[in-house]
Symmetry: D2
């Protein structure tokens, strides 16, 4: 087992951790640990909410969650010798839950507090608890489903430079100021109650590791929220960034300053319920190396990666397609979100044939290793999106050809907590 | 070999085919053939351009293509007993090129005539010719690449009812009238020279099978263009709709009236160069069945499908990610197209390390079995898209870890025709 | 379509073919065609029996088959410039049945005429006819099973030199003379009615292409039977030698002289019923190249190959294991055949839970893409063999966990013909 | 983490463990732990040698190993309510090395002490140490190779009844008495220095858990060795019996009495060097259930299993074939071992083109996830075996088509210890 360079205590509050939590991106957060190229090391992480969710049957904790202090992350880990322009080569050797905390949660956020991809259809908070059975998971709130986890860190990134941070703040502020372009995918029914377009720096509840209090006060005005993925990878939520993957991360500051967390036991493409993966605290074992001047050598300015080859395999899928017309018949221009939305809604309708509530179906799409693809992006005005559900995640026969045998089972009895 | 119910002659013009071509969606096109549930049958098709492209080294035919008469399709095939509300079960038993026409083409359209996903970066017409070697293909215009085709029909659909057709026309007209919402993914640099938002009915160059001339004249005003995918599946361009796939198609008119064509020897997710697959004329063998009242039974209002299990398999990929910020730093709101664009641009830059021109790299992404996923759709304001390139399509070592061995080969010498 | 260099006529007898059939290995058979390195070409083949089996419901043709004239093969194809010590690089570009003969057959041979792997358990002739539905197949004699074919040539080889032929004859004669070592896997119950140990040259029914009659008479005394695989690959019956595979074949005579045939639409590992694949006449498209002095360069003295990547994929299997103890409790020494036998017998027993007769189950194991592995070869005295049956080849739920739902269906009603 | 029901101490001798070790099969070994149907529990195990091998660069420990006390196993675990005729359903939830012992070993045994599949070619002891990097492994003794482990227990079985034990002893004794049938695969060159045909009960070094000394003395005369797999599964060495697999084990005594151990981080089909997997101590998490009267219900008398779907995936292989003729030209009758031997020898020769010693190549075949198949078992006298090596386990280009670039690297410098 590699040496642990960042430790957490899941029984303590985020403010009282053995190593200090980070919940914003800022270049000046002092390194919590330092490693050399070639080193293998373990990083422990809280779940992204910092422990706000319990293993019980009520969704009140989802409904009432404090969102400002998220995500609760571990780092920065400084790599000796890494300089701006280099690439870090980060191997995700392995990751998992803590031995005595083998459960995770998925939440549907309330429309008034967080929302989600289909929040207009699913406005109320819901929660499902998942138990981990080694490589598999199942949930008392979603019966007759079990699947192997495609576990990954939702967040893995390097720290931005001051210049890059400024750029982030400016471009996101500009979006907020110039207003929405096409937000119909999210909230097409009301037209009024818009979710935020972007999240500007939020000085409340800022945690910046070991930075001293005075510095924090200043930094908090500029430190970027961790919600969106950006140049540094960050909250990319790529389900295939799993065990055995290699990531090439751009370096923007001396040492690179890796920050990571938001571990997912499993997630479908899109992570559609927002708190949509199976969320958990846990550990990840990393190994790092440095490619000097790698950004120029590779000719890329985003992170790139090579997925590992131990992903769960499936040979039978049911595939739903959607395109850029809302279910009310409004035509949008090449809007992939609406395509995704329509495909998801059809999948949810299909799964409810088997006795699931729509909330359960929504959660299955968000957590199981569902494949969502941009099938066609040039056939104006409709972008075609496919959502493919692996049949083998169900313990019963979910194939359309045997649909007539589906009837009569009520899988909603073990309903989602409210 | 199943009986051929629709025949084409690739040496004749689209107007002079053995069975009459269709290039618009309209309910009243007379059935060209009739089949019974359970029947297996063969449909021949022209390439989507109706033979406008030659196997040569000039892209003039791409540059000067007449776009109004596209796509050139085969059908309608009527299924006896199918009624509105039913689902057709269509098995794609097999498909392929004609025995003496074992080549296909990929085009980058000129910005002034068709464009494509990255048309602002690639404004000039280009063409690549691909030869078919049984299950594999290679191109004299893109050396050192070969891969097995994931062949599929770009277009497979049922005919709309009058009501549905009217709905299509109205919603697309409304989009054109209310103007662009967020078109930056396509043409973010100019802001002026916008491509069309949608394609309203175009009465010129209309082909409606055996419909009599007078009726055509009237129908042409309303018949829908075949570019976008819609409720009837249509131009869905789903690369996984390949050999052995089963499609469940909603029925809107008596007999369902299947229309198909636009065969692709291979395509990457997105079909990004627009004429982006490896396009070919050819044949497909189908089998149909009917599920009475299937739309209600299944609870879906789009087509759904089950992909076959003989897709080419790959175990090593290089994955690029993008999100909703243009390369000029403009922040957009959850725009997946921009994520796709950024990931593609990075992939193109990466591949040019190996001696390819950017046009060649663009064509590789568009034709090889590239996987493009909506990785995260809830992390506002950035939607995260990944584009995964299978390493085994290259005859040389394309792995980032051996990049230092890449130098010195100029694969652009066999350049794309101009 | 590549040029056809070897043509057959399925309506004519083997003796009256457009190009003359070969059914023995001999260096002096005149080349039927000549190709150059780099050439693509088509070879047509009869089914291995030369047309002795009909698409009907009687197994009499299997029972009464003449075995001496088998296999009926196409070739030799001479590759210009190939010399002993070279390797031929043979690409299997594609293969398939003839367009108007889309069916094949599987036979269980009578114990008195051919036998099979489990002939003591299945002593009577049986037959199943399979219809081809594009990439898939199904059989009226084995209901509720359908799967994509992993099609391949059972036989593909180069011609032996005189020296090598002599070596084959000597070593096989020596086996016949010194008698059985351990034949219990085949015929352990009787002890008397032993099948042949090997098949020495059989001068009757010899076909040697265009060789003149006098020469044939002499050659027939030495020409080797085509049943066993040998140094030249030959009847290797490797199910993964499918579309898109590349084979490296050792060259023993000038021109290499490729002979091929015995096409299989599908086969399980082992081809256990002997005529155990889904046998068919058809065509294969090949491309050849030459590696000068390749045998020394590669350091190998058998054929090697690279399987294509378009094999049908399966993610759920049921795996049976067997080891070197007969079902009567007799212990053998590291005998893999007995392990294979036991695993097959258990699989057959398992499948008969679902209403199949044991003959049907035997045929499923022999034809579907079953994986049979040498799991452990060092744990004396027992060699462990696993036989893995892909669940998705069944149209119903075959999973052990839902076995209680299996009852009551009699799938044997559509019994195997007799 | 499930409760640990069997604990080991890798720093203590096998005789001084926290829970008592078992190294023979016997029905009367007292249960070390008892679990209920539905329970999840952890079992710790020593490596199979009980700690005789060190992480160093000398193979002396392999050469001098004491073989009589092997394998060192954990159990029996009794399942409440299980009775003879039932099936145990055992889920392998997860398994792995101990956190601070992330290394394993592979040995080539000396011909005089253990031997191996190719012992006549590799008569001297060798050793390779493998380090574990999360899901991956690499070895300082076999450079430029790394791959994800397909980890599994080499041994997992239920305890035999007295009757079954008697049957084992009788049939194995009968083999020893009647002498060899066909042992050429193992020792074909000498004809004299035969390895044992089977291993009868060996009263020395017997460990039977908590059985009292007197009882042990009697039981040791009959307790069966753990080398061969038998009706109870036992030492089946099935590489695919990995994480997420479900095993159905026949029950022969009250409680079933599960015994397990011999953990492998990875193994190729066949485990050919004998100590041929990457051997390690570690833990496995199991869950059990009982199917009453399952043996009759299933109609099987061996263990069956369903492999998990998280096996490492590979898309490019190099496949070697062998058949029943020794490299000296001696023809055997359907001997799969000789086919396996020939394919392995060719693979070893091929890999030595890349600078590996033959010992290193032998070890690669034995440890990497190599696929070995019984391709054809009916083509007398030759059984055809294929050995498929996944290309991606090498860090360099191992493809035959780029073989000319292989030269000049000496990977044998980091030779195997002696």
């Amino acid at each position: 087992m590699p040496e642990t360079v960042f430790e957490v205590d899941v029984d303590a509050s985020p403010e009282e951790q053995p190593d200090p939590i980070v919940n914003r991106w800022h270049p000046d957060v002092p390194a919590a640990a330092s490693v050399e190229p070639g080193d293998k090391f373990r990083v422990e992480t809280l779940d992204w909410t910092g422990g706000q969710v319990s293993n019980d049957d009520s969704a009140n904790d989802i409904r009432d969650m404090e969102l400002d202090p998220n995500h609760h992350l571990s780092g920065p880990i400084e790599v000796e010798g890494a300089e701006p322009g280099d690439l870090l080569v980060v191997d995700i050797l392995d990751l998992g839950p803590f031995p005595d905390l083998e459960w995770g949660f998925t939440g549907i956020f309330d429309q008034e507090n967080g929302g989600g991809f289909l929040t207009d259809k699913f406005p109320n908070a819901r929660k499902a608890i998942w138990e981990f059975d080694g490589v598999y998971t199942h949930s008392r709130h979603v019966p007759d489903v079990h699947f192997a986890g495609l576990s990954h860190p939702g967040i893995l990134g390097t720290s931005p430079s001051h210049e890059l941070l400024e750029e982030w703040n400016e471009r996101e502020r500009a979006l907020i100021e110039r207003g929405p372009n096409d937000k119909t995918a999210v909230n097409h029914e009301t037209g009024e109650d818009e979710p935020p377009l972007a999240l500007p720096p939020e000085p409340n509840d800022v945690l910046l590791g070991d930075m001293d209090d005075e510095a924090v006060e200043e930094a908090a005005e500029k430190a970027a929220r961790t919600i969106p993925p950006r140049e540094n990878a960050g909250n990319c939520d790529i389900k295939n960034l799993s065990r055995g993957s290699r990531v090439y991360l751009p370096v923007f500051v001396e040492g690179g300053k890796i920050v990571t967390g938001d571990l997912h036991f499993s997630q479908g493409d899109g992570e559609i319920t927002f708190c949509g993966a199976i969320e958990m605290p846990g550990w990840l074992d990393l190994q790092v190396d440095v490619i000097k001047n790698g950004m120029e050598k590779f000719g890329v300015d985003h992170a790139i990666f090579k997925p590992g080859n131990v992903e769960p395999q499936f040979s039978e899928f049911i595939t739903f397609e959607g395109y850029s017309v809302t279910e009310d018949g409004e035509q949008h221009y090449k809007n992939a979100n609406i395509g995704m939305r329509r495909a998801c809604l059809d999948a949810i309708d299909y799964l409810s044939n088997f006795g699931y509530t729509k909330e359960q179906a929504y959660i299955i799409l968000s957590t199981a290793p569902v494949e969502s693809r941009l099938a066609g992006v040039v056939d104006l005005p409709n972008t075609c999106v496919t959502v493919s559900v692996p049949q083998a995640v169900f313990d019963f026969d979910v194939d359309p050809d045997n649909l007539e045998n589906a009837g009569g089972v009520d899988r909603g009895t073990a309903a989602l907590p409210d």
